[in-house]
C-alpha cells in the first residue's frame, strides 16, 4: 500500500559526510572541553592523545592480539546467545505450558547481576575465554529470547492458518512462517545484542583475565592511564560498529520483501 511522498534522503556520500561531521564535531567538543579544563583531562583524557595512542597501538601491532581475543569472545557470545535465544524463544512461544510455568524464573534469572556471578563462571569455565563468553551469553540470550518470543506471538493468525491448511508441518511452520515473520523482531534484538555481547566479553575480561581489550582497559585503569582506557573503548566501538554493519547487511538481505513506503520511479524504463 502506498504512503505519503517521502522526503527523499540525501545520497549516500552526503550521509557519510554528515556522519563524519558528527564524529569530528564530537572530537572537537571533547578537545575544546578538555583543553579549557572544563572537563578534567584526568577523567576524560584528550582526544589527540587518545587517537595517537590508538594509532600507535595499531601501528605497533600489540593491540591485535587482544582485539582478536575480545572479538572471538564477542562472536562466540553473540552466536551462542542468539542461537539459544532464538531456539528457546521459539520453544517457549510454541509451548504455552512451559512458557507460563517458567516465565517468572526466566525473568528472575534475567535480573541477576552477572558481575556477581563472575566467580561462578570462573569456577565452572575457568579463566580462559569461556567464562567471558558465558557472561556475554547471559546478556545476549535474554534480549534475543524475549524478542523472539514476542515475535512468534505476533505472527498474523490468517497467514498462519493458511500455511497450516496448505499442509505445513511444525518444521515447515517454523521455516516458512514463524521465522520470517519474527525476523524483524530478531534483528531488532540483534542490534542491541551485538553491543551487549561485546560488553559481556569486555566486562568478563575486566573482572579477571590474561588478555583482551577489557584486560588492557583494566590495566590502564590500574595505573590511572585514562588515555589508555579511552583508547581501548575507541577500539571497541569501532569494531562493534563494524559488526553491526554486517548484521544490518544481512538484515537488509533477509527482509527485502518488506513493504516500504510506496514509491514511483522518476526515470522511465
Amino acid at each position: 500500500m502506498a504512503v505519503a511522498r517521502v522526503k527523499r534522503l540525501p545520497s549516500r556520500p552526503v550521509i557519510l559526510l554528515l556522519q563524519v561531521a558528527v564524529l569530528i564535531g564530537f572530537f572537537l567538543i571533547w578537545h575544546v572541553l578538555t583543553a579549557t579544563k572544563i572537563l578534567s583531562p584526568f577523567f576524560f583524557g584528550t582526544p589527540l592523545a587518545v587517537l595517537e595512542r590508538t594509532w600507535s597501538d595499531f601501528a605497533s601491532g600489540v593491540i591485535w592480539y587482544h582485539l582478536g581475543i575480545t572479538l572471538l569472545e564477542t562472536a562466540l557470545a553473540f552466536v551462542i546467545g542468539t542461537v539459544a535465544g532464538i531456539a528457546f524463544g521459539f520453544w517457549f512461544a510454541r509451548a504455552p505450558l512451559v512458557s507460563i510455568v517458567f516465565d517468572p524464573y526466566i525473568k528472575a534469572v534475567n535480573a541477576l547481576p552477572r558481575v556477581v556471578l563472575a566467580p561462578i563462571f570462573a569456577l565452572w569455565l575457568g579463566l580462559g575465554i569461556w567464562s567471558k563468553v558465558a557472561l556475554g551469553v547471559t546478556l545476549v540470550f535474554f534480549i534475543v529470547f524475549f524478542n523472539v518470543y514476542q515475535g512468534v506471538k505476533e505472527v498474523s493468525p490468517v497467514v498462519l492458518a493458511n500455511a497450516k491448511m496448505l499442509g505445513a508441518s511444525n518444521r515447515h511452520l517454523f521455516r516458512h512462517v514463524y521465522l520470517p515473520s519474527a525476523l524483524s523482531w530478531v534483528f531488532s534484538s540483534l542490534h542491541t545484542a551485538v553491543g551487549f555481547a561485546m560488553v559481556g566479553a569486555v566486562v568478563g575480561e575486566y573482572l579477571g583475565s590474561a588478555a583482551g581489550l577489557g584486560y588492557r582497559i583494566h590495566q590502564a585503569e590500574g595505573v590511572f592511564d585514562t588515555v589508555g582506557v579511552f583508547s581501548g573503548m575507541l577500539v571497541l566501538t569501532i569494531f562493534v560498529v563494524v559488526i553491526d554493519a554486517v548484521v544490518t547487511v544481512i538484515e537488509k538481505r533477509l527482509l527485502h520483501w518488506r513493504p516500504q513506503e510506496a514509491q514511483t520511479t522518476n526515470a522511465q524504463g
Partner: protein, 284 residues
C-alpha cells in the same frame, strides 16, 4: 470415535460415512469482546453434508456466519457444540483433506507470488526447484505468469486473490473450501476464473464448498445452494438442488429459463433474510 454406537449407526444409515464433509449440529458461540459479559452465538445447530465430488455453495447475509462454518470445516475453529466429520473421521485439528482459500489476505508477505504458490508443494516435500517449476503454469492459469517475482504488497487486490487461488488448488485437496474467492475480480476475469475452477473440478471431482455473495455465481457453479439465515444464531434455512446439466459455461447458463427460475426462488428467500437481519440492527 468416542461417540456412542447409536449415534454412529444413525450416521451410517444416513450415508454420512461416505460424505466428504459433514457438520453435525454445529454451534459456534464467541466470547464477548472484553472476554466477559455477553457472548455472541454466530451459528446455531448447523447440519450439512457434502458428498464426495459435490459442489456446494453457501449464501447468506453478511456477518451471518459463513466464514465461521468454513473455519469449523477446516478444523481451524472448534465448535462450541456439535462436531465436524471428514470422510467419516472427526475433524480434530487441521482437516487434512481440505484446502482453504481465505476471505482475508493470507499470502505469506515474505514470499514472492511464485514462492507463495509453490509453498504447498514444498510443505509436501517437493524440492524447492521442482515446486517452483510446477507453480509456474498455475500462475499462468490465473493470468499472472509475468508477476511471479512480485511480493504480495506489490500486487493489486485482485491479483493477490488469484495467487491465493493458485496456492490453494495446486496441492490438489480433496475438499476445497473457498470464501468469496472472486469478489475482488472484475466480471470478465471472474468468469474466466469460474470456468477455470469448473474445468478443474470436473476433471477430478473434488468436493467444493463455495461461499459467495453473488447468487448467479452460486447457482451457475454448484450442484446445491445452501441459504444461511441472518445472525445471531444463524441456521441453514434453505437448500436448493441445481439440476442444470454439466459441463456448464458460467456466462451462457445464466440465460437458461431453469436458471432464472432458481434465481428468482432463492433470491426471494435471501432478500427476506437480509432485510430481517438489517432491520434487527438498524435504528434510524
Amino acid at each position: 470415535m468416542s461417540d456412542s454406537a447409536a449415534v454412529a449407526a444413525a450416521l451410517r444409515t444416513e450415508g454420512a460415512d461416505k460424505a466428504a464433509l459433514r457438520l453435525d449440529g454445529v454451534t459456534c458461540t464467541f466470547p464477548s469482546p472484553d472476554g466477559r459479559g455477553q457472548t455472541y452465538t454466530a451459528v446455531q445447530g448447523v447440519t450439512l453434508s457434502v458428498a464426495a465430488g459435490e459442489f456446494v455453495s453457501i449464501v447468506g447475509p453478511t456477518g451471518s456466519g459463513k466464514s465461521t462454518i468454513l473455519n469449523v470445516a477446516a478444523g481451524l475453529l472448534a465448535p462450541s457444540a456439535g462436531r465436524a466429520l471428514t470422510f467419516g473421521e472427526p475433524v480434530d485439528g487441521i482437516n487434512p483433506h481440505a484446502g482453504y482459500m481465505f476471505q482475508a489476505d493470507a499470502l505469506m508477505p515474505w514470499k514472492s507470488a511464485l514462492e507463495n504458490v509453490a509453498a504447498g508443494l514444498e510443505f509436501r516435500g517437493v524440492p524447492r526447484r521442482e515446486a517452483e517449476e510446477r507453480a509456474r503454469p498455475w500462475l499462468a492459469r490465473v493470468g499472472l505468469d509475468r508477476f511471479g517475482d512480485r511480493y504480495p504488497h506489490q500486487l493489486s487486490g485482485g491479483m493477490r486473490k488469484r495467487v491465493a487461488l493458485a496456492q490453494t488448488l495446486i496441492v490438489d485437496p480433496k475438499i476445497v473450501l473457498m470464501d468469496e474467492p472472486f469478489s475482488a475480480l472484475d466480471i470478465q476475469t471472474r468468469q474466466l476464473m469460474e470456468n477455470e475452477l469448473l474445468d478443474l473440478w470436473s476433471a477430478d471431482r473434488k468436493s467444493v464448498v463455495f461461499i459467495t455473495h453473488d447468487l448467479e455465481e452460486a447457482i451457475s457453479m454448484s450442484d446445491r445452494v445452501l441459504v444461511l439465515s441472518a445472525g445471531p444464531g444463524a441456521r441453514l434455512i434453505g437448500e436448493y438442488r441445481v439440476d442444470l446439466e454439466r459441463p456448464r459455461d458460467v456466462a451462457e447458463i445464466r440465460m437458461t429459463p431453469r436458471f432464472l427460475d432458481l434465481h428468482r426462488e432463492i433470491w426471494g428467500q435471501l432478500r427476506e433474510e437480509v432485510l430481517k437481519g438489517y432491520a434487527q440492527t438498524k435504528l434510524k
